[in-house]
């Protein structure tokens, strides 16, 4: 195979660790799209690049921390949020973003997720939801639709999934949005918006995992899943979609609601201060 030089430089060279490429993600995976949106949002933000810090947990999406050329922490499974909380409270000037996956954030890290939202601690969470545990090879997780197949649910998933925007809104987050990997402009815009919002922000991005989730559930490739998103996504304008309507099952021809589900002004968490005489 002959290597063809496509371009001398890439607009994101300054912010991606090019010396770590190629990345580990499979063909058709959506995580790179979301990472690209995050990188662009950092460059477009009013916050200097060196004040951005990214924290990840474990899993495919957790590898994002290692590819971003900013201060980055790849921590333990599920614990990215409390680690990020520690950074933010120790150095409030840092723009602190957790980038991780649905299994990491909502299963093993679920308790930290709801409590960080309840406290309304001033960190941003970008959650790539691909409906399964991709890195370990396609096991069902907390977002897998009931009935969908995974390597640990060969007869179909017997459990009901979380719908994450509803969970995180109910827990008290100031800003909650959901998009899919076809919504690159909206993702970037909402990450930028999240940077400006005090308190806890949560952006869920539905992303194809053709190798882990798709192959067990008759979704041919990443493109086919992107096409499903394109056909079924319905924009929510005033966040009034609740409960079961927010559930997603790619095997059923029903709407996938995307948009902003919460945008409130609850007071963010601040450490207690006292005036001493």
């Amino acid at each position: 195979m002959t290597a063809v030089k496509v371009a001398d430089e890439h607009p994101l060279d300054a912010i991606i660790r090019a010396d770590r490429m190629p990345h580990i993600w499979c063909p058709g995976c959506g995580i790179g799209i979301v990472m690209r949106c995050y990188a662009q949002a950092i460059l477009d933000s009013q916050v200097p690049v060196d004040q951005h810090v990214v924290i990840s947990g474990i899993g495919c999406s957790g590898r994002v921390a290692g590819y971003m050329n900013i201060d980055s922490y790849h921590t333990t499974h599920g614990r990215a949020i409390p680690f990020a909380l520690g950074i933010k409270l120790a150095k409030p000037e840092l723009m602190t973003t957790v980038f991780s996956g649905d299994g990491d954030l909502a299963a093993i890290g679920g308790n930290h997720l709801i409590h960080a939202a309840r406290r309304n601690v001033d960190i941003n969470v970008i959650c790539v939801n691909n409906f399964n545990y991709g890195m370990t090879g396609g096991q069902v997780g907390p977002t897998t639709p009931r009935g969908a197949r995974g390597t640990t649910a060969p007869y179909g998933n017997p459990e009901l999934p979380f719908n994450l925007p509803y969970l995180v809104s109910a827990s008290g987050a100031n800003f909650v949005a959901r998009w899919t990997t076809i919504h690159v402009r909206q993702i970037r815009e909402d990450i930028l918006y999240a940077f400006t919002r005090p308190g806890f922000t949560f952006i869920e991005v539905l992303a194809p995992c053709p190798v882990g989730f798709g192959k067990s559930n008759n979704i041919e490739d990443g493109l086919e899943e992107m096409e499903l998103y394109r056909q079924r996504c319905v924009l929510v304008r005033d966040g009034d979609v609740r409960g079961d309507d927010l559930n997603i099952d790619l095997r059923e021809d029903k709407p996938i609601y995307v948009g902003r589900f919460a945008d409130w002004d609850r007071p963010p968490y601040e450490p207690v201060t006292v005036e001493m005489k």
Binding site: V53, S72, Y73, H74, T75, T76, R79, F83, L94
Partner: protein, 384 residues
């Protein structure tokens, strides 16, 4: 102004948990994340009141998993940070204790031991987390653990713990017990100029993101520590990593990294280990004890001496790293070794392993202090 409230110089009457909290503040701790658990709760309660006075952060986390992760994040951003717990919480902290080792993030973890396993005896003392402290997280690593025997030492050793943690970029445990935590004693807090503060080894100026944060140039094997937000654009990962901090899935890099992490403690044991000896010069019987049990042992040894028995006491102030050379030397001079501890034989196993000699144990599973009489009885039997 705020700094004046940081070091409460003077003579105080306070319990060990409070002394530990004051020690943390005096050491410059500005971040405490914890979850209430008996018998450590007074540390959290005290810091909930005191941290705001000095402009520090107190946060009550949702659990011990989060507490441990939060103090690592705070430390990674440059703060001296601490958490406090007891056995059940320590079990949950083990996961991120391993992360602290791998990322080389300094922190102090206080374990006020109670009767265990499981929920055990929440309000009563134990010393049975000794081996969990040493081996509780998965993988090969070395840990530092100090065992105070008084409220004063809760203060003093907490300061030392922060200094050792920063110096070697390692988690350091205060492995105390309910008796020492709740005992109210005189605590003398010195003027702040007299409080040791060994800062972290820090890198030079940022160099276009090409800095290698895990490159070691000093013989102590400790790399300088970069904090979040300083422009170095560093990557920290719990995966096996190279000097750039990048994941490197090779057996060679793994062996090098883990060996260095272990050796940075092993090669510096002389700087870390603390012990105290009583009547050791001519001792034929050696009693080894630590924490509250050492108080009983000291009295037992004193009384035995009054009866003419040649017995001495080695008090372990640092449990880990274990003072192997000293114990081996002492073991060669004495006829009998007695180990008194509030568990069914943990440090005694280490002493047996190190010396190759049999050890007489004075053990109790926990719930009450081992009284001096029980240890004296063991000394008498050994002398007979």
């Amino acid at each position: 102004m705020m700094d004046d409230r940081r070091v409460l110089t003077g003579k105080h009457f306070m319990n060990g948990d409070e002394a530990c909290a004051e020690g943390a503040l005096a050491a410059g701790c500005t971040f405490f994340g914890g979850y209430p658990i008996t018998p450590s709760t007074e540390i959290a309660e005290h810091l909930a009141r005191r941290m705001p006075e000095i402009g520090g952060v107190f946060i009550q986390m949702e659990d011990e998993l989060g507490s441990m992760a939060a103090i690592l994040g705070a430390s990674a951003a440059g703060a001296r940070s601490m958490t406090a717990t007891s056995g059940p919480g320590l079990s949950l902290m083990m996961e991120n204790l391993g992360l602290a080792v791998m990322l080389e993030i300094p922190c102090v973890v206080v374990d006020v031991q109670r009767g265990s396993p499981s929920t055990g005896l929440p309000t009563m003392p134990g010393q049975s987390d000794v081996m969990q402290a040493r081996w509780g997280s998965h993988g090969d690593y070395e840990i530092v653990a100090y065992s105070p025997w008084s409220a004063q030492e809760m203060f003093d050793l907490t300061i030392l713990a922060f200094n050792i943690a920063d110096r070697y970029r390692s988690p350091v445990l205060i492995l105390c017990d309910e008796v020492v935590g709740h005992m109210i004693e005189r605590v003398v807090i010195p003027p702040k100029e007299q409080i040791d503060h060994w800062g972290r080894k820090r890198p030079k100026e940022p160099d276009n993101g090409r800095y290698e944060p895990f490159k070691v140039e000093d013989t102590d094997l400790v790399p300088p520590m970069v904090h979040a937000g300083e422009g170095y654009r560093v990557h920290f990962t719990g995966l096996t990593h190279d000097e750039r901090g990048y994941p490197d899935m090779s057996a060679e890099t793994h062996h090098q990294l883990v060996t260095r992490l272990v050796n940075k403690i092993r090669h510096n044991v002389d700087q870390i280990i603390r012990t105290e000896g009583y009547y050791l010069d001519d001792a034929q019987i050696l009693v080894v004890a630590y924490g509250c049990t050492a108080r009983s042992a000291q009295r037992a040894v004193r009384e035995a001496r009054q009866k003419g028995i040649q017995v001495g006491l080695l008090r372990l102030i640092s449990l880990w790293p274990f003072p192997e050379v000293l114990v081996q030397e002492l073991a060669e001079k004495v006829e009998t070794i007695i180990v008194a501890e509030m568990n069914l034989g943990q440090m005694s196993r280490e002493i047996q392993r190190a010396t190759g000699h049999p050890v007489r144990g004075v053990f109790h599973a926990g719930g009450e202090m081992i009284p001096p009489e029980t240890i004296l009885e063991a000394i008498r039997e050994a002398a007979a």
